[in-house]
């Protein structure tokens, strides 16, 4: 059986008239209505816009026009992407009621393709968290087992796709926020090279680490979406766009490619996850890839470097939420300082406040050199270390998360222990590299296990192809449909 791109499949259904876009959209909306109460994947459902777009697509089909790749495909957007006239909250009380007056570039791009936006998805507040549970709307649940979280921060996006409440979702990844929930929910989560996808309109958590990318149900879908959104954007100074169209280069033989394994990535990883990845390694060997062992001792610094830099940038990025221009404002205050102070204390959740304080601290006079400056130096050495590694291999293979999906409320117990679970995902954000997480098995509870392929800068096509080859070798052994949502 050939694994089919769901996007291509639906595109075909629409073009051949087997289902109309309005019918399809209604199916999704009906399922969302029913299932979202439990999954909490969406925090805002955009029924009207969805149906309006669907109608437009149907008109186009009736005229016999060809559809663009993402045209008419029902999808979801993480709630940290600015959508004109649609409330955008970052799942924070401080932004409740904020309706943007402009579109994020990624949304502009796919909106122009008549993508059918079903709604905005749940996330950890300002993307700070690994379980989606810091959301002011409560966490999104894992469609594979609702006693577990969907992951975070793009938990809603993963939940919407795994729960068949969207064909794909756009998420953002600052320290693993696309890959980790994709891993928890048995999906493909792709964090492109920093600069490949415009950040304009992505509400910043940590500007030098944030990157938008797709969460999809197979590699080809991820590639199709990536190709659509990876344009150079003059509005983002750090934007460079993509070098190649990836979806067209998914059939390349990987015989002889070198896959690097760094033992440092496997320290503290659960045994069942290790062995799943060992099996994946065998698959790659069968495909003719050469496994090479590489050293990456610097990644032991990745976690502290990540939390220092991310929090420092966040403390500055989140300074603007003062209750003056938009969003939440406290009701009783004596003067402007009191107003700002109360607004922020009441509007931000605990985790966000913790990171703002951490970030403020590491940038403060007297501490800057010991923390922020040192972290920047180490960042440089991590970048260099990866560069060296890619002199001796083409892609790296590593676990995505040390565990499978957390049980509910796991993360609220000990923030540091939760931070530790980001150990495998943060290094690529620090180095700005592309990485894709794909499923590679299940644990004894039936929860998905993920692994990630890491590539050199702007070699997004290389890792997507490597992921695609694996996926097609193991066929549907790595995917498990949940019995929720829309069946196509």
């Amino acid at each position: 059986m050939k694994l089919l791109s769901r996007i291509k499949y639906i595109n075909n259904l629409l073009e051949t008239g087997e289902v109309s876009c309005v019918e399809l959209t209604k199916k999704y909306l009906d399922s969302i209505e029913k299932e979202n109460k439990i999954l909490n994947a969406y925090v805002k459902i955009t029924q009207e816009t969805a149906l309006k777009t669907a109608k437009k697509v149907d008109e186009k089909i009736s005229k016999g026009e060809k559809l663009l790749p993402l045209e008419g495909i029902p999808m979801s957007l993480k709630d940290n992407m600015s959508t004109k006239d649609i409330e955008t909250t970052c799942c924070s009380n401080i932004l409740k009621g904020y309706v943007p007056i402009y579109n994020a570039t990624v949304w502009d791009i796919i909106k122009n393709q008549n993508a059918v936006l079903l709604g905005k998805t749940n996330m950890d507040e300002f993307a700070m968290g690994s379980s989606c549970e810091t959301s002011c709307f409560g966490g999104a649940l894992n469609p594979h087992d609702i006693k577990h979280v969907a992951g975070g921060s793009s938990g809603g996006a993963a939940s919407s796709v795994a729960g068949n409440l969207a064909v794909y979702g756009l998420g953002s990844d600052t320290g693993g926020s696309i890959r980790q929930p994709a891993s928890f929910c048995g999906l493909v989560g792709f964090k492109p090279t920093y600069g490949a996808v415009s950040r304009y309109g992505l509400i910043a958590y940590a500007s030098s680490l944030d990157q938008i990318g797709p969460i999809a149900s197979c590699v080809e879908d991820a590639a199709i979406i990536y190709d659509a959104i990876s344009d150079y954007d003059s509005k983002d100074s750090t934007s460079r766009g993509s070098r190649t169209k990836t979806a067209n280069s998914l059939n390349k033989c990987i015989k002889g490619i070198k896959i690097g394994i760094a033992k440092e990535y496997f320290e503290g990883i659960r045994d069942d996850i290790k062995s799943s990845i060992q099996e994946a390694v065998k698959v790659y060997e069968d495909l003719g890839a050469e496994i090479v062992h590489v050293d990456l001792p610097q990644i032991k610094y990745a976690l502290p470097v990540y939390y220092i830099i991310a929090c420092a940038e966040a403390s500055s990025n989140l300074g603007r939420y003062d209750g003056i221009r938009y969003g939440y404002r406290t009701s009783f205050y004596s003067d402007v300082d009191d107003m700002i102070c109360k607004t922020r204390s009441e509007g931000f959740g605990k985790e966000v406040q913790r990171r703002i304080m951490l970030g403020t601290y590491v940038l403060s006079a007297g501490y800057y050199d010991a923390y922020y400056k040192k972290a920047q130096k180490l960042r440089g050495s991590i970048v260099k270390a990866f560069k060296n590694v890619f002199d001796s291999c083409d892609v790296m293979l590593a676990p995505t998360v040390p565990t499978t999906a957390f049980e509910l409320n796991f993360t609220s117990k000990d923030p540091i222990e939760t931070y530790m679970t980001d150990i495998c995902t943060v290094p690529v954000n620090i180095a700005g590299l592309p990485a894709v997480s794909i499923p590679c098995g299940f644990d004894d509870k039936g929860l998905p296990i993920g692994m990630q392929l890491i590539g050199n800068s702007f070699e997004d096509a290389v890792i997507l192809n490597a992921a695609y080859q694996y996926e097609h070798q193991v066929k549907n052994k790595i995917y498990k449909q949940t019995d929720i949502g829309v069946r196509i």
Partner: protein, 471 residues
């Protein structure tokens, strides 16, 4: 005991680029509140800045014009502080890698005031207090600024004034700013301390924030100097603190002490990329610079032979200097042209800003034609004065007011005859002159000028008349 003032200035000047520093909004002054704004300059969540390259160009020109070294590699930093007029809660500025460093401005005493650095940054919005409420207007937010930081080389209020004036003039000449103080496009923070004459060590300084007129800067410095001297003379110590100038009471008052000093938590702005400037680019900017006021002044004095006072008045206003250069083209005696401008034309321009604008009805070429006629002695100076008034009134060229007949002047033979006639007609005046009353000649010359409708050469006529009387 006498005390010495020590001051350094941080001068903020708004650049006159068409659009703001990080977005496409206009930098035009005024406008209905919050109409020159977009998602970027009001810092809406998710927006990103994009550096306007013209701002870099303007700042580099400012640096080159003040003898600075220009950095080939520079970057933007965030200065974090909370204030309602700052919509992102940080100002994008430059911290440790400013575009320009190590410059100076030379005062008329030939003393240099050293410039530590010049960097670019965005302006903030403005708070408006009305009807018991406070409103924010973000029109000014994101307007590009240069901050020019001087060393503590200033030793008197006069030096401070001259330094600012020179700076202002240079910025105007190179066209990077209109420097209109009344629109707040030049503002100063004054760092000031005092020490006993002859001492080497600096005293503890205070900083007076955001003074926005030359007059206020002078007054604030004077007040602060006296305040510090009084404190020291009474045996107490100066506290390092930030103060503000209260123009109503003409005092400086404390804003915050050292312990409350802001920690701006500077760090590199991750949304903006490194600024590269090649040597070729810097050279091109340098070649593009017009002649600077200092150089122009020396040229006016040394090459044109203008008196120093005239030269400094002419260069004080860029438009005037340019007008003068055109008006005195191909004229040997440049002072003639200067006089028409500084006396007759300036009489019509009452205020400084009118002179600055120099909005007059005739182009410099018209004035040039007139001066040429005077120099060729085709018309005399009094006639020229009259004609210039008419030209200025109407905006029309010389030929509208002078016929060929007029320009022929009076030949010497005719003038001689006329002089004889004039002496006869004013016998008593001639007698008075002979009795030693020089002024009496006026009546006779006046007669001649009347008869010739001003065409006669008064100097020549006087000479002839004197001879005739003596005979």
């Amino acid at each position: 005991m006498s005390w010495e003032l020590v001051a350094g200035l941080e001068t903020h000047i708004e650049l006159s680029t068409k659009t703001k520093i990080f977005c496409q909004c206009t930098t035009e002054f005024g406008g209905e509140p919050n109409t020159h704004c977009c998602p970027v300059c009001i810092g809406l969540p998710g927006t990103l800045p994009k550096l306007n390259r013209a701002v870099v160009e303007y700042a580099v020109k400012a640096g080159l014009a003040t003898n600075c070294r220009i950095r080939n590699i520079s970057k933007m930093d965030r200065k974090n502080y909370v204030y309602p007029d700052l919509p992102k809660a940080y100002q994008i500025s430059q911290y440790d890698k400013p575009l320009c460093e190590h410059g100076f401005i030379t005062l008329s005493s030939e003393k240099n005031i050293n410039i530590t650095r010049i960097h670019i940054e965005e302006d903030a919005g403005k708070l408006i207090h009305e009807r018991g409420d406070t409103y924010v207007d973000y029109n000014r937010g994101g307007v590009p600024l240069v901050e020019i930081v001087s060393e503590p080389d200033i030793r008197s209020i006069d030096e401070a004034m001259e330094y600012i004036e020179k700076l202002r003039l240079i910025m105007k000449y190179i066209g990077v700013s209109d420097v209109k103080m009344q629109e707040g496009s030049l503002r100063c923070d004054v760092n000031i301390s005092v020490r006993k004459n002859g001492e080497d060590a600096y005293g503890t300084r205070t900083e007076i924030k955001n003074v926005n007129s030359l007059n206020f800067i002078a007054k604030a410095m004077e007040y602060e100097f006296n305040r510090q001297v009084d404190i020291l003379e009474s045996g107490e110590k100066i506290e390092q603190e930030t103060r503000r100038y209260n123009s109503e009471l003409n005092i400086t008052e404390i804003m915050r002490g050292k312990e409350d000093a802001d920690d701006y938590r500077y760090f590199r702005d991750p949304d903006l990329v490194t600024i590269y400037l090649s040597d070729e680019e810097i050279k091109k900017f340098k070649d593009d610079l017009p002649e600077l006021p200092g150089k122009k002044y020396s040229r006016f004095v040394n090459e044109y032979g203008l008196p120093e006072a005239d030269a400094s008045l002419l260069i004080k206003y860029k438009n005037v200097a340019e007008y003068f250069e055109k008006a005195c083209k191909n004229i040997k005696n440049k002072k003639t042209a200067a006089n028409y401008i500084l006396v007759q034309i300036f009489r019509r321009l009452a205020t400084d800003s009118e002179k600055e604008e120099f909005n007059i009805s005739i182009p410099p070429e018209y004035l040039n034609e007139l001066v040429v006629l005077v120099e060729e002695k085709k018309i005399n100076s009094s006639m020229a004065r009259n004609v210039l008034e008419k030209m200025l009134d109407t905006g029309k060229p010389v030929k509208e007011f002078i016929t060929d007949e007029d320009m022929k002047g009076i030949d010497e033979e005719t003038l001689r005859k006329l002089c004889g006639k004039a002496v006869k007609a004013n016998k008593s005046a001639a007698a008075q002159y002979l009795a030693g009353k020089e002024k009496a000649l006026g009546a006779i010359i006046g007669y001649i000028m009347r008869e010739t409708k001003g065409k006669a050469d008064a100097a020549l006529a006087t000479e002839i008349v004197k001879k005739l009387i003596r005979q």
